[in-house]
């Protein structure tokens, strides 16, 4: 069985800083994006930092990650430098993937980010093959694949689970449930899907994560990883989270303005600040850190991180 180095069981400051780093790095990228520096479409993952940091801490060096169109947070959390990511988005040779992949297909095999697809559902089949291959080759690494509440509507979601369960292949299947697919809510596009019941019906495991709290995510995910390996089956890890960067558009019939979901592109209403909090403790992993650590301490650390990251940003 693959071995994960023991992780702190209580909230620790380095983990909080990892969350802050993923947020601040995205804020810098957003500034360049707003200034029109990128020609490629980028899906920022503001609000998705906690699960990415928890995944990075839960997986070991042999474990691999398979990602969808929204993937920046995982690349950063798994250790990619901000400069390398920015250069990749500028399609430079010095980029993380030598400027060959851009944003929607960003992969980094050296850090275990093996494959990323911009086509919904596409990565689930590939992840199934990677996981099966791992068991055939006796590789101890676990495969972890990320999808969304929208992408899981593709038939491949069901098909992949059927094979994984049928062949007793361990895998973590993370569903980032932000309630949206582009501009449509779940209720607009389909009926609700009870993933717990669905997992049971398929023979898979299931757990739910509050995506705002990195420590909750980490503890639950570690348990899920151990279960996947011990029970030799896939586990659906549903993460409830909010993609931040939304805004309200003045419109008749909407006294507070109409809620516009952030999907991709520059987050026009998000501005640069060393304390990059965009929501509250229920929806923002940064705000949620204040339930574990004193705010002045976090502010101070954020200032230092901000100054450090700023050096990686091209002028």
């Amino acid at each position: 069985m693959s071995h994960v180095p023991p992780q702190p069981t209580v909230p620790d400051l380095p983990t909080a800083l990892a969350v802050l780093r993923v947020r601040l790095a995205q804020i810098f990228i957003n500034e360049l994006y707003k200034a029109g520096r990128f020609r490629i479409p980028i899906h920022l993952a503001l609000g998705h930092e906690a699960i990415a940091v928890a995944v990075a801490q839960t997986l070991d060096d042999h474990d691999i990650l398979v990602l969808p169109h929204r993937n920046l947070h995982y690349a950063l959390a798994r250790g990619a430098g901000l400069a390398g990511v920015i250069d990749e988005f500028l399609l430079r040779d010095t980029g993380l993937a030598h400027g060959n992949l851009g944003a929607m297909n960003l992969a980094d095999p050296a850090r275990g980010l093996v494959y990323t697809s911009s086509i919904l559902g596409n990565n689930l089949g590939v992840a199934t093959g990677l996981a099966l291959g791992g068991t055939i080759c006796g590789d101890s690494g676990l495969t972890c694949v990320v999808t969304g509440d929208g992408a899981m509507e593709e038939g491949a979601f069901y098909e992949a689970l059927g094979i994984l369960c049928g062949k007793h292949i361990p895998l973590l299947l993370i569903v980032e449930n932000n309630g949206w697919s582009l501009a449509s809510t779940i209720a607009e596009r389909r009926g609700p899907i009870d993933l717990d019941a669905f997992a049971k019906a398929m023979g898979a495991g299931y757990c739910y994560l509050n995506g705002a709290d990195v420590f909750h995510c980490r503890t639950t995910l570690q348990a899920a990883r151990n279960h996947a390996l011990a029970d030799r089956r896939p586990i659906i890890v549903e993460v409830g989270l909010t993609t931040l960067g939304h805004w309200r558009q003045p419109q008749t019939g909407y006294p507070n303005g109409k809620y516009i979901n952030y999907h991709a592109g520059p987050a026009a209403h998000v501005s640069i600040s060393p304390w990059p909090c965009l929501g509250d403790t229920t929806d923002d992993p940064i705000a949620a850190l204040t339930t574990h650590f004193p705010e002045p301490l976090l502010h101070h650390e954020a200032m230092e991180l901000f100054a450090h990251l700023q050096k990686e940003v091209p002028s």
Partner: protein, 315 residues
């Protein structure tokens, strides 16, 4: 009026004239930007049901066939041609089993071609020829107001299946209007200009480049005939061959990324019918490994050099 505004207006006119029920469906057709304006306002047309669907393209294509069999007109709108790949089984196999049925309703798939290159290797398809070749379903492109009128009012709602491709490159530009023209002698081929120095024939979305070449002839005091082939399965080249017999020079421009281009059929027919003609095919650079990363890919034509190189057979 922009390209998309004109399409939206004419589609709404066509929908409101339908005698029976119609379903317009696809992801985000009646929410958010409504496919960048293409489907805006269709939810208020009497008799027209709009459905913001889930991400399930294989089933969405199958649904269109089912609606058509029930006598309900179906219009499936997809934000990118790439996503139609997930429905290829339905296009090929379902249609193979149904093509001889006497269906009265229409099923049209409208795809937007986002081939600017910046979206990366999985979101840059411009391959209508391939979809039509596999499925033998008629395919149509729109470059101008004439072509929009012909496709929307004479094709979209005729009984049976068809795939329509629209160029995102023209989306926000004014709808090209090439003046009044006699009705085409061959369905699916627009004859825009008469000339005697060369026969310029454009396929797919290469009409703007074709106009550039025709203008380059005009700057030299010469005239070129200009045709645009808008029907992918068209194989009636009589009008074009008659023109080449007169000009003895054929220039074929095609911005399709397909390797099985329908323009190849014209090149062959012209070579056989007018062996003494000079034939110059201009195509897109092949899809090499290098070009599979995000890039500024497009069909570039040096019109002046092309006009200068008379007498050079490149076939």
């Amino acid at each position: 009026m922009t390209f998309v505004e004109y399409l939206n207006e004419q589609l709404r006119v066509a929908l409101s004239l339908r005698p029976g029920p119609t379903v317009v469906y696809g992801q985000n057709v009646a929410t958010g930007s409504c496919l960048s304006g293409l489907t805006r306002g269709m939810d208020t047309i009497p008799g027209c049901t709009t459905i913001n669907t889930s991400n399930a393209e294989n089933t969405l294509v199958g649904m269109g066939f089912g609606l058509m069999l029930r006598g309900v007109d179906a219009l499936l709108c997809l934000k990118q041609q790439d996503f139609l790949l997930l429905g290829i089984d339905q296009l090929v196999n379902t249609w193979n089993a149904l093509r001889h049925r006497d269906v009265r309703a229409a099923f049209a798939v409208i795809t937007i071609v986002v081939d600017n290159g910046w979206e990366g290797p999985q979101s840059c398809l411009n391959n209508l020829d391939d979809f039509c070749s596999l499925s033998r379903i008629p395919g149509h492109v729109i470059n101008t107001r004439h072509e929009a009128d012909a496709v929307i009012h004479n094709t979209v709602f005729t009984s049976g299946v068809k795939i329509i491709a629209l160029p995102q490159r023209l989306w926000r530009s004014p709808m090209p209007d090439l003046g009044s023209l006699p009705p085409p002698t061959t369905p699916g081929i627009q004859h825009y200009r008469q000339g005697d120095a060369a026969t310029v024939v454009t396929f797919n979305f290469a009409l703007s480049q074709g106009l550039g070449v025709a203008d380059a002839f005009a700057r030299r005091g010469q005239t070129a005939s200009l045709f645009s082939v808008t029907d992918v399965l068209c194989r009636n080249w009589d009008a074009i061959i008659a023109d080449v017999q007169k000009t003895k020079r054929l220039i074929v421009l095609d911005d399709s990324k397909s390797i099985n281009r329908s323009s190849d059929a014209l090149l062959l027919a012209a070579k056989i019918a007018v062996p003494e003609a000079t034939i110059t095919p201009i195509r897109r650079a092949p899809f090499t490994e290098e070009r599979s990363s995000p890039n500024s890919d497009s069909l570039t034509v040096d019109a002046e050099a092309l006009v200068e190189a008379t007498g050079k057979d490149m076939l």
